[in-house]
Amino acid sequence: MPFMKGNAPIRRTLQFLEAGKLVLKDQIQIFAVNYNVYGDHHKGARDFVFWHLPQVQYKNPHVQIATFKNLTPSPFIKCFYENGHQMLIDVDSKSKEEIYDHLVDVVGKTKEVLRAEAIAREKKDNPANFGAHCDKHCICEIPGQVPCPGICPLPNHMRGKFINAKE
């Protein structure tokens, strides 16, 4: 790891950031962690913020992640949903692994959903695919292809109603 200065610089590697397991559900807009800088029962929360918060923000670039220090005697995580609901998660005296796994179960997208999303993203990347969720809706949008029959009608020898019409 070249140019890796500071405390635990492995947190700053792309491999570590990509290895984040927690992808928050689409509904969540704010992820707030409240913890104290002192106290043994806050140690898990502190470690979670130190190790896993960059991973969470990397996987969820559109979620606002906020930390509040030394507000309350007990540590907690609060998730704010789009529809106004708030989810309160108690992380008192839990280790950072426990907190992370709990979050993945409760507010994270499941592996199946992530797999389906990865496939959908692949489909979108392939320019040979048309239709919903793809870049182009129809092959008629590409210059050089047959133009859309809805805009300029096909010549009669290509139209079924003329081919099949009885003289």
């Binding site: 792309l14 807009q29 104290n36 106290g39 923000q57 507000l71 005697p73 007990s74 907690f76 106004g84």
Partner: protein
């Protein structure tokens, strides 16, 4: 709840900062921005004006704001939804009791009683609501500046 899901409300959580505008409060939104070379997240502050006609939010409160469907003015784009943690008056979400940093207020009261309560000590139950000294001794609700020009007009917020 289908209709509620259809109305996407972009929510943000921010800290109230001093603001001179009427009907609006300024909020500092702390965001994390990835530095591509260091691959490290650094704090980036955005300032947002939110519609607050009664001026419920005082400087230092942590507030949840919601984006308005239409901008009220060029700068006022959000509205205040709820004050999550008012400054000095935080409630612990699990027990519902009032808290001061890492201690419960009733715990502090008990300790004070055991050691002997000072008459000059701050009493939460008897203290007036925040803002009673505004414009007299408390100038945290506006941005004060060093007076740079004496033009005869009254400049209440210049130092």
């Amino acid at each position: 709840m289908a209709l509620a899901a259809a109305t996407k409300s972009l929510q943000l959580i921010g800290e109230c900062v001093p603001c001179v505008k009427q009907n609006a409060s300024k909020f500092k939104i702390k965001r994390l921005e990835l530095d591509q070379h260091l691959l490290m997240y650094f704090r980036k502050d955005d300032y947002i004006f939110a519609h607050d006609p009664e001026k419920k939010c005082k400087t230092g409160d942590i507030v949840l704001i919601e984006k308005l469907p239409e901008k009220l003015s060029r700068l006022i784009t959000h509205k205040v939804k709820e004050i999550v943690y008012p400054l000095g008056d935080v409630t612990d979400p699990f027990t519902g009791k009032n808290v001061v940093a890492g201690k419960f207020r009733d715990q502090i009261d008990k300790v004070n009683q055991a050691y002997g309560k000072l008459p000059t000590g701050f009493d939460y139950t008897k203290a007036p609501k925040r803002g009673w000294q505004e414009d007299k001794k408390d100038f945290s609700h506006v941005e004060t500046y060093a007076k740079y020009h004496e033009d005869g007009k009254d400049q209440p917020y210049s130092v």
